[in-house]
């Protein structure tokens, strides 16, 4: 049987949605509460890693394959750079060009929210990809452990 025991699988099924929700919350509300793109992205990656450990690599690679993970990584970095370049509309690199409003609302801070989302996607994809590369593809390289065992 691939993955861990029945208890771990059931607990993971119950917890995985809450972990993802919390990661997304931390990413989106980074400019109002503690957190931000880095912590939220790593939390989302933690959810994927929990899925990998509990259900085996086939399940999590079916959800998000390594090709799409590296694609998401590049997309996050490219979005960040694009937001920085769009600052030239107002005059200079990294200008906060979106209109700001009341300081305690979700859409109050202009480009900070978008940059947080871009950083979150980038960190999520890259941490997940490097975990898969270190634990699973590394085993293929060394050939010490057979491919079926997980």
């Amino acid at each position: 049987m691939e993955g861990m025991t029945f208890i771990v699988k059931t607990t993971t099924k119950l917890l995985i949605g809450i972990i993802f929700l919390f990661g997304i919350y931390i990413t989106f509300y980074g400019h109002l509460t503690p957190g931000g793109g880095f912590a939220g992205g790593i939390m989302l990656a933690c959810g994927m890693i929990l899925m990998t450990l509990a259900f085996g690599k086939r399940m999590s690679l079916g959800k998000l394959s390594d090709f799409y993970a590296s694609l998401l990584d590049n997309l996050g970095a490219f979005t960040f750079w694009t937001i920085a370049m769009l600052g030239y509309i107002g005059g200079y690199f990294f200008m906060n060009f979106i209109e700001k409003s009341n300081p305690f609302g979700l859409l109050s801070s202009g480009t900070i929210l978008t940059i947080n989302i871009a950083i979150g996607v980038k960190v999520f994809a890259s941490v997940f990809a490097v975990f898969m590369a270190l634990t699973i593809f590394g085993r293929f390289v060394s050939g010490l452990i057979s491919e079926d065992e997980d």
Binding site: H31, G35, C46, F80, S109, L134, F137
Partner: protein
Amino acid sequence: MLFLFYTLLIFCIIGSIIAIEARNILASVISAGVVGMALSILFLFLGAPDIAITQVVVEIIVLIVLIRSTVSLDNTAITKHRDTFAILSSLIFFGLFLVFAFMAFQGLPTFGEPIMSVGRQYLENSVNQTGASNVVMGILMDYRAYDTLGEATVIFTAILGAFVVLRAKGKKKKEESDKIRVGIPEKEDLPMSLDQIETSSDSTS
């Protein structure tokens, strides 16, 4: 409050001693995790909740990666041939380092009273100028966004390096020989007559 800081720091030092000197490598990795968790509580009491959250999550990832990728491969401890000369000389050097560090710390501002010449400006203006009520995120994503861009580049490069180092096989197959020869061509490859050169040049063009 100060007592709490001292207790947690001494706890960190004891955890790091166990992490360094433990024979079992799994115990050593877990002790390093304990040090990181205590450090995150310390960050929380020092008034840095952003750092505390990030530190907890990063610590979990470090622990999982170290155990899953290296310790589960090989758990044998190294007991033979301690290099006494290296240990002694490094201990002497570290004693000297601590003495000079203690002398240098006299010049720092006393603990609890920072010089906030730049930080005060940020605290006064950040909420109005960026609209973010979390001042740390306001600085990180607006005033010092160049810093974040460079940091994203560093992550990208490090992950790329890990992928390149771990790649199992090259993209080109082994049987496929190189098309372009370097050096003196062999006799069969040289053109025999003028017609052959013309035809070959025609076919390429």
